[in-house]
C-alpha cells in the first residue's frame, strides 16, 4: 500500500505543470525523506493488513492438488469392548478412530486462477492511471478534502450501486447460520479480490475473522458457509469499465443480524 501510494504520488507529480523536472526532483526528495523519516508509518499499516499465512498448510494444499492422497489414517484406535446389552439392542459398541485430519484453512489460496497475467496487471495499472488523470485539476478540488476523486473510495455514492449489485448477487447463495446460538453475532469478514471477468480471484478471511473462527466452531461454520456463497454465486456481473472500483472488496461482510429480527 505504501508502495502504491508512492507510485501514485510520483505519477501525480508528472502532471501537466511547468518545471516538471524541478518538481520531480523535489518530490523525489520529499518522498525519500518521508520514507526515511517515517518508515514506521509506512510499514505499520501494511503489517496490519497482511493476513498471516500458514505456509505449511499452503504447502500441504499444493501437494494435495499435485499428487494424490492424504495418507490414510489411523493413528489411534480407541477400542472399547462391546458392552453386551440385552433387552433392546443397544449396539454392540464401537470404536472410533479419529483419523488424521488433513485440515487446512481453506480460503487462503487463490483458486482456479493463475496469477494475474501481464495484461491484467497492465489493465489494473491503466485503470489506476485513468483514475489519477481524469480529474485533471486536483488543485481546486483538493480543498474539498481527501475524497475528491469521483467514483473512488469506500462506500460513496459512486460505488453504492456496485456494492448493491454485488450484494444482490451474493445473497441468493448465502445460507445464514440461523440455528446457531447467538447467531446474530456470527458476523464474518472477508477480503475478496475479483478478476475482471467477475470470478473470484482470491478470498480470505480477515485477520479478525480468522482468529474468531479458530476459537469457535460456529464462527468457523459461518465463515465457511459465507465463503461457499461467494464461490457459488460467481461470476459476478458488474460494470466492466469500473473494474477498478470492484477489484477488491474489503471487508466483504456477512452480517446475519437483520435476519434474526426477534
Amino acid at each position: 500500500m505504501a508502495f502504491a501510494t508512492g507510485r501514485t504520488g510520483v505519477s501525480t507529480a508528472r502532471g501537466p505543470r511547468s518545471g516538471v523536472a524541478l518538481s520531480a526532483v523535489f518530490h523525489g526528495l520529499v518522498f525519500a525523506a518521508a520514507f526515511l523519516t517515517f518508515q514506521r508509518n509506512f510499514t505499520a499499516p501494511e503489517d496490519t493488513h497482511i493476513v498471516p499465512v500458514d505456509l505449511v498448510t499452503i504447502a500441504d494444499k499444493t501437494d494435495i492438488a499435485a499428487q494424490a492422497p492424504p495418507a490414510p489414517e489411523p493413528e489411534k484406535v480407541i477400542d472399547k469392548p462391546p458392552p453386551a446389552l440385552e433387552p433392546p439392542p443397544l449396539p454392540e459398541m464401537i470404536e472410533v478412530a479419529p483419523a488424521p485430519e488433513v485440515e487446512m484453512p481453506k480460503f487462503d489460496i487463490a483458486k482456479e486462477k493463475p496469477p494475474p497475467t501481464r495484461r491484467e496487471m497492465q489493465q489494473d495499472f491503466n485503470a489506476l492511471l485513468n483514475k489519477l488523470t481524469t480529474p485533471d485539476k486536483p488543485v481546486q478540488t483538493a480543498k474539498a478534502g481527501p475524497r475528491v476523486i469521483p467514483g473512488i473510495g469506500t462506500g460513496n455514492l459512486m460505488t453504492a450501486d456496485i456494492a448493491d449489485a454485488l450484494k444482490s448477487q451474493i445473497y441468493r447463495c448465502w445460507s445464514p447460520p440461523t440455528g446457531a446460538p447467538d447467531a446474530r453475532d456470527l458476523i464474518v469478514d472477508f477480503d475478496l479480490s475479483l478478476n475482471p471477468d467477475g470470478t473470484v480471484g482470491r478470498l480470505q478471511m480477515t485477520p479478525g475473522t480468522t482468529a474468531a473462527a479458530a476459537g469457535n466452531g460456529y464462527t468457523r461454520a459461518a465463515s465457511e458457509a459465507a465463503s461457499r456463497a461467494v464461490y457459488q454465486c460467481q461470476p459476478y456481473r458488474l460494470p466492466a469499465d469500473r473494474y477498478a472500483q470492484w477489484r477488491e472488496i474489503n471487508p466483504l461482510r456477512f452480517d446475519p443480524r437483520q435476519m434474526m429480527g426477534q
Binding site: F42, T48, I64, E101, R147
Partner: protein, 453 residues
C-alpha cells in the same frame, strides 16, 4: 487502512514543507500532499455488507461407499437420509454423478463435482477386517475449497453398521454446522395401540430415525412422561401400577424396574439432573403439588417449592444450577425459574395464553414450552429470562417438547383434531423443517436421549 497511510504521507509532507523557505514551493508541495491524500483511497477497497440471505440446504454428494457393495450402499443410504432429514443438507441424486469413486484415498476431481452443483462430497469405504470386524472410513471434501474437511475411521461389529452410519452423519453435521450432531441417539416414547376407548400404552424405544423400535413394557399398565438419564441407560417415567401414579426407574440394560421412593401419594413428572445423580419430580399431598428433588445415591429428599398452587414439570438447566417449572400460583399456568435449592423463584413467561411444560435446552440458551391459547396448543421457545418468545409450531394440539442433545431440534406430540391418535413431530429451532417422526402406530410423549456413549 489505505486512508490512514495516505494521511501519514500527507501530514508528513506538510510538516516537511513548512521548513522550506520558498512560498511557491510550499504551495506546490502542499498541493502535492493533498493530491496524495486524495489519491490514497484509490486503493481503498469497496466495502460490502451482505445482510440478507437465503436459507437453503447444502447440496452434498454422498456416493455409495465402496468395498462391500451391499453394506456400502446401506451405510451411505443411512447417512443421506440422516442429513436430508435435518433439513440442512440436500443429498444429490447419485444418477447425476460424473466421477465414480474407486479409491477414497485419491483426491476427487473437484470440477466434476462442481459441475453437478455439489458443495460437499463424502467418499467412504467399508471393509471386513480379518478379525471379523467392519471397518468404515470416510472423507468429507470441500468442493469449492478443494480440500479435505474431515477424515475418520470406525471399527465395529458388522451388524452394527447402522450406528456407524449415524456416527458418520454426526461427524459431517458437526463439521459443516459447527454444532454436534444428534443422529446417533434414541427416542423413548409411548406407543399407543388399540381403540380409543381401550388404548394400550406401552413404553417403547427406537433409534432417532425410527429404526429398531422395541417395546420396553408389555402394556398391562399405563406409562407416561418417560425421561432419559444422561447416559441414556435409564429411563424415569410415571406409571399407574396399582391405583396411584408413581415415578419409576427403568434400567434399559437389565429391564429392571423400580419405584422411586415410597410416598403415600402420587408422584409424577420426573426429570434427571444433568449429572444423573438426582431426579426432580412432583409430589402431590393433600391436593397440593410441589417440586422435590431426590438424590439417587442416598435417596434423600429435598422440597423446593411450597406454595399452594400446582408446581410441576421441573426441568434442569444444563449446568444443574437452576430449574424451570410450571406453576399456576398466579392464576393460569406460567413458566417459572428457581435456583436448584428452591430460592429465587420467579416467573419468566409473560406472553399471551398459558405456558407450561418448560424444557431447558441442552445448549442452555433457550427454554421450550407448550402454549395454550384458547383451544390451540403450540410449541414455542423463549430465552431463559423469558424474553424473545417465538412460536415454532401451530397445531390443533402440540404438546410436550423434548430437545435433541445439540439443542437445535425439538420433538413433540401432535394430536389431530379428528382424534385419530397422536404422532411425534420434529421441528428445527428456527421453526423450519417440520417433519413427522416415523413410529410404529400412534405415539406420544417423546423423550430424546443424549448422544449415545
Amino acid at each position: 487502512m489505505e486512508q490512514l497511510a495516505g494521511c501519514h504521507v500527507g501530514a508528513m509532507l506538510i510538516a516537511f514543507d513548512i521548513r522550506l523557505e520558498n512560498g511557491m514551493k510550499r504551495i506546490l508541495l502542499t498541493l502535492a500532499a493533498l493530491a496524495v491524500l486524495s489519491v490514497a483511497p484509490a486503493n481503498a477497497a469497496l466495502q460490502v455488507d451482505v445482510t440478507q440471505g437465503n436459507a437453503q440446504p447444502l447440496p452434498i454428494a454422498i456416493p455409495d461407499f465402496i468395498g462391500d457393495a451391499q453394506t456400502g450402499a446401506n451405510v451411505a443410504g443411512v447417512v443421506r437420509a440422516d442429513l436430508e432429514r435435518s433439513g440442512l443438507f440436500r443429498p444429490l441424486d447419485q444418477k447425476g454423478f460424473v466421477e465414480r469413486i474407486t479409491d477414497i484415498n485419491k483426491v476427487p476431481t473437484f470440477s466434476s463435482w462442481r459441475s453437478i452443483t455439489a458443495q460437499g462430497l463424502v467418499t467412504g469405504q467399508v471393509a471386513l477386517q480379518p478379525d471379523g470386524r467392519l471397518r468404515v472410513d470416510f472423507r468429507l471434501w470441500d468442493i469449492f475449497g478443494e480440500s479435505q474437511m474431515l477424515g475418520l475411521q470406525f471399527f465395529t461389529t458388522p451388524e452394527n453398521w447402522r450406528r456407524i452410519a449415524h456416527m458418520v452423519s454426526d461427524a459431517i453435521y458437526e463439521r459443516i454446522t459447527g454444532e454436534k450432531g444428534y443422529f446417533d441417539t434414541r427416542i423413548v416414547f409411548i406407543s399407543e395401540s388399540g381403540p380409543a376407548t381401550k388404548r394400550v400404552k406401552r413404553l417403547a424405544i427406537m433409534d432417532e430415525d425410527g429404526a429398531n423400535p422395541i417395546f420396553l413394557t408389555n402394556g398391562s399398565y399405563m406409562v407416561l412422561t418417560p425421561r432419559f438419564n444422561p447416559t441414556a441407560q435409564m429411563i424415569a417415567y410415571m406409571s399407574y401400577i396399582g391405583t396411584k401414579p408413581r415415578v419409576y426407574l427403568f434400567d434399559i440394560e437389565t429391564g429392571k424396574q423400580e419405584m422411586l421412593g415410597n410416598f403415600p401419594n402420587m408422584t409424577f413428572s420426573p426429570r434427571f439432573s444433568p449429572d444423573g445423580n438426582r431426579v426432580a419430580m412432583t409430589l402431590e399431598s393433600a391436593g397440593n403439588s410441589d417440586i422435590y428433588v431426590m438424590d439417587l445415591r442416598n435417596r434423600a429428599i429435598q422440597r423446593l417449592t411450597s406454595d399452594p398452587g400446582i408446581d410441576t414439570a421441573p426441568s434442569w438447566s444444563p449446568d444443574g444450577k437452576q430449574i424451570a417449572f410450571e406453576s399456576d400460583r398466579g392464576g393460569g399456568q406460567q413458566v417459572y425459574v428457581m435456583n436448584v435449592d428452591g430460592s429465587n423463584q420467579r416467573r419468566i413467561s409473560f406472553g399471551p395464553g398459558r405456558n407450561g411444560t418448560p424444557v431447558w435446552s441442552p445448549r442452555g440458551d433457550l427454554i421450550a414450552f407448550t402454549k395454550q391459547q384458547g383451544s390451540i396448543f403450540s410449541i414455542g421457545v423463549m430465552r431463559t429470562d423469558g424474553s424473545g418468545e417465538r412460536m415454532l409450531t401451530s397445531g390443533y394440539h402440540d404438546e410436550g417438547p423434548t430437545w435433541a442433545p445439540n439443542g437445535r431440534v425439538l420433538m413433540f406430540t401432535r394430536e389431530a383434531s379428528n382424534s385419530r391418535g397422536s404422532q411425534i413431530v420434529s421441528v428445527d429451532v428456527t421453526g423450519r423443517n417440520e417433519r413427522k417422526v416415523l413410529t410404529p402406530g400412534s405415539a406420544s410423549d417423546p423423550a430424546w436421549s443424549p448422544l449415545i456413549q
